[in-house]
């Protein structure tokens, strides 16, 4: 066990707060309200935390790394197009000039949405965290998940923590998911800070 129940509760609260700020940003960006679903936290050997292999619809994803952790933001293709389209329409005077830049826009949006969560994690772990630039990917959900896990630098114990939250906007008819993966070192740091 990496995180005790108490620490998990603190982490849940912290991520909720961060996601609320992130979704407020996303509402501002997309011009439509967004809601977050239940936040799930699982932990154990990293192998057991991966999504099962299963064919599914294409997604647009952005992978971000930080020391000891990885974030994966994914949107089904139609949702990604809706979010990017709303972003360009709301922010640019020439929304048609951005053809082909949808995935890059989704990555930039994901970066903006994730930063409040990352900032709170950094404050909690008493460290400055810079997210890497996003790596933009398109593919089936389990393949994006596999790639995100591949970027998580596991310690010798092979243990990891995984947090997932679904997000959706009824008005935009769009949905997405945010996953956070932590290795045991970063999870341990957070446990020390949050468990007091």
């Amino acid at each position: 066990m990496i995180l005790s129940d108490t620490v998990q509760q603190h982490l849940r609260r912290l991520m909720r707060t961060g996601m609320d700020s992130g979704l407020a940003r996303l509402a501002n960006i997309s011009g439509a309200p967004w809601q977050a679903g239940e936040l799930s936290i699982r932990q154990g050997p990293a192998e057991g935390l991966r999504l099962p292999q299963a064919a599914g619809p294409q997604h647009c994803g952005a992978i971000f790394t930080m020391p000891g952790g990885v974030f994966l933001a994914t949107f089904p293709e139609a949702s990604a197009a809706a979010v990017a389209g709303a972003f360009f329409k709301g922010f640019s005077k020439r929304p048609d000039a951005w053809k082909g830049k949808g995935p890059d826009a989704v990555a930039e949006i994901a970066n903006i949405v994730l930063n409040p969560v990352v900032n709170l994690l950094g404050d909690a772990a008493l460290m400055i965290i810079f997210l890497s630039p996003p790596e933009v990917r398109q593919g089936e959900m389990n393949l994006l998940d596999e790639e995100a896990f591949g970027k998580l630098l596991l310690r010798e114990d092979g243990q990891a923590v995984r947090a997932d939250i679904q997000i959706a906007s009824a008005e935009l008819r769009a949905s997405g998911a945010i996953s956070m993966l932590l290795n045991s070192a970063l999870a341990g740091l957070l446990a020390e800070s949050l468990g007091a």
Binding site: K101, A107, E108, N119, D123, I128, P133, P134
Partner: protein, 121 residues
């Protein structure tokens, strides 16, 4: 006075939006960069009036770029534009000599206000 601006950001979308917004106010983007080496080279070539700088970059984080540019030109004016609002990061950015901070997402008027401040001073 119109500003000659160097935009440093890893995101092609962010660079494009900053350019579009800045041009709305009559400013000129003289160069774009996505990495620390590109930023330093572009600064040396163009000597811009202002640098807009993201903190997440592929090669060297924005803080390293900020320090490198200020070493190169101690009077360099650098506006950090980032989604990172961690207090400790703000402090580091200020210590390193940033002239301003604008958080993402920003609107046309947010950037306009920031650029007006630099163009008047």
């Amino acid at each position: 006075m119109p500003l000659r601006i160097l935009v440093v950001d890893d995101s092609v979308v962010a660079r494009g939006l900053i350019q579009e917004f800045a041009e709305c106010f009559g400013h000129q983007i003289v160069a774009e960069a996505a990495t620390l080496p590109e930023a330093v080279a572009a600064y040396q070539s163009h000597r811009p009036d202002l640098v807009t700088l993201d903190l997440s970059l592929a090669e060297g984080d924005g803080l390293a770029v900020l320090k490198a540019l200020r070493r190169l030109e101690p009077k360099a004016r650098i506006l950090v534009i980032s989604g990172n609002v961690q207090q400790a990061v703000h402090e580091k950015v200020q210590e390193a000599g940033a002239a301003g901070f604008l958080s993402k997402p920003f609107t046309l008027s947010d950037l306009g206000r920031a650029l007006t401040r630099f163009s008047q001073g």
